[in-house]
Amino acid sequence: MTVAIKIDSINKSYGELQALDDINLEIRKGEFFGLLGPNGAGKSTLIGILGGLVNKDSGSITVLGKDTVKDYRETKLSLGIVPQEIAFDPYFNVRETLKIQSGYFGIRDNDEKIDEILDALGLTDKAEKGPRELSGGMKRRLLIAKALVHDPEIIVLDEPTAGVDVELRNSLWEYVIKLNKEGKTIILTTHYLEEAETLCDRIGIMNKGKVVKVDTKDNLINSIDRKLLKVKVDKTSDDLGEVFASYKLDVDDKNKEFEIEVSKNQLDKVLSLINSLDTTILDMNISSPRLEDVFLKLTQLGGGQD
């Protein structure tokens, strides 16, 4: 079986608001999947339905072939969900919390795994601290740790890096990548698109309760056929505008630089035009679109500003 999660025609509305509108999505086993979308797109609602925090209106979700409503106990055992909202149990310190959490998932003696997670998330020296004594970022780490104690097959991270410092981000990603290499399926939502760009194999983009695009990261980025050529020359002549009349050109006389936006099949032509200029090329840089460009393009399809 290669499908980890199959989401089938999920609908959810809050009163008038259609938070999820006929969502269909398949997450494959072992992949690192990015679920992106602007605020209010419906990402957390979808994750909530997956984990049993939110009641759906219609549709179904299976996790490793089991239905999340009918076989909820099995599906919950295979999922490790890090919710977006920080929440903690005020009565117990970090280690106690993780022990109780292990018990909730049917594991009695879990000290080894707990120590491993504490270490990976930089919480070892906070293990005996109560949640009120933890800083915001550390509470976030505890939230992540809680979702991992039962070594779930599928790990869902709903904005795990919000409010977390660079050091933890790096160690968190190192740990998550290791888990992914071991075969765990990872689903990540984040507003840091560079994170998604470096980490994810496939990406789904949501907007206003709909999945607007699902593809591999590379295909998504390549779907924008646009290269940006930045050329530094010894002098910017006035005829640049004429030579590149049919292209989008931006000249910076002060720094003796100009930029041209081209599609791939224009590259050859433009390069020979540049070559024919009566100037010396000092430096040149070609940049490809970023995930961010794709994201903006897709989420503004509806014309919204959100």
């Binding site: 049993g52 939110v54 106990r73 009565y91 959490q101 594991i107």
Partner: protein, 256 residues
């Protein structure tokens, strides 16, 4: 799978018991002190008096009532505050994300409430030995009755905790519902001795049956048949257990 499920269930019970143990000053010692004060006051104010309609000293009459009263209050307080705090702090999601069955959630919370109610009730019994000697006519029945009663109020506490959106709401539930029903249930007096219609009105108070049947277990006398009380109280228990399990199933006020 059976083993995993029993660990899961046991963990919830353990968590519930650890929770109130961590704040034992407030959850165990405070009620102990207030009930001990009642015992001192009643023991000295009503020295040498008999309970109306019962040929026993008033203090013997009132001890089972006081024990049941603290059993009720503590079972209720335990589940209701555990849930309202979990909702307020947001860690209720831990329970929703974990693979508990709905009946496990009901029973797990309920057993936590029973544990605290029985603990406080038992310690109060130990204290009461100094006041009346400590004899119990049917100890086994007393324990069974106490378990069912604290089960009922633990379940009511779950309902209150799920229903409440603020801490105030829980006190509304206990101040306007639990306390009046308890005080008017015959903890402090025999319903038999009430004038006219009031003794009949008391029969509509479910807490009356609970106090009355425990009094039977303690002193061997009661206002009505303890077996009738047991049927009424047992049926209420089962109905509440069913209701609470249903509330967990639909995610009443915890799932959006």
């Amino acid at each position: 799978m059976v083993k995993i499920r029993s660990i899961i269930f046991y963990s919830l019970i353990k968590r519930e018991i650890l929770r109130f143990s961590k704040v034992a000053v407030q959850t165990v010692f405070a009620p102990l002190i207030s009930t001990s004060l009642y015992l001192i006051i009643f023991a000295y104010s009503f020295q040498n008096r008999e309970a109306v309609g019962y040929n026993i000293p008033y203090i013997d009459f009132i001890v089972p009532g006081l024990i049941i009263m603290s059993l009720i209050q503590n079972s209720f307080a335990n589940t209701s505050s555990s849930l309202i705090v979990a909702k307020y702090q947001g860690n209720i999601v831990d329970l929703l994300l974990a693979p508990f069955s709905h009946i496990q959630l009901s029973l797990g919370f309920m057993i936590g409430g029973i544990a605290r109610g029985m603990l406080v009730g038992f310690v109060i019994y130990l204290v009461s030995i100094f006041f009346y000697g400590g004899s119990v006519a049917y100890p086994f029945l007393a324990i069974i009755f106490a378990l069912i009663i604290s089960g009922i109020f633990s379940l009511l506490g779950i309902i209150a905790g799920l229903w409440a959106e603020k801490f105030d709401h829980v006190s509304i539930f206990s101040n306007f519902f639990i306390t009046p029903l308890t005080f008017l249930s015959g903890v402090f007096y025999s319903v038999r001795g009430l004038p006219g219609i009031w003794s009949e009105v008391s029969l509509f108070n479910p807490v009356f049956y609970m106090v009355d049947m425990v009094r039977y277990a303690f002193v061997g006398q009661s206002d009505i048949s303890p077996w009738l009380s047991l049927i009424i109280v047992g049926a209420s228990f089962l109905a509440l257990l069913y209701l609470v399990t249903h509330l967990f199933k639909i995610g009443y006020k915890v799932k959006s």
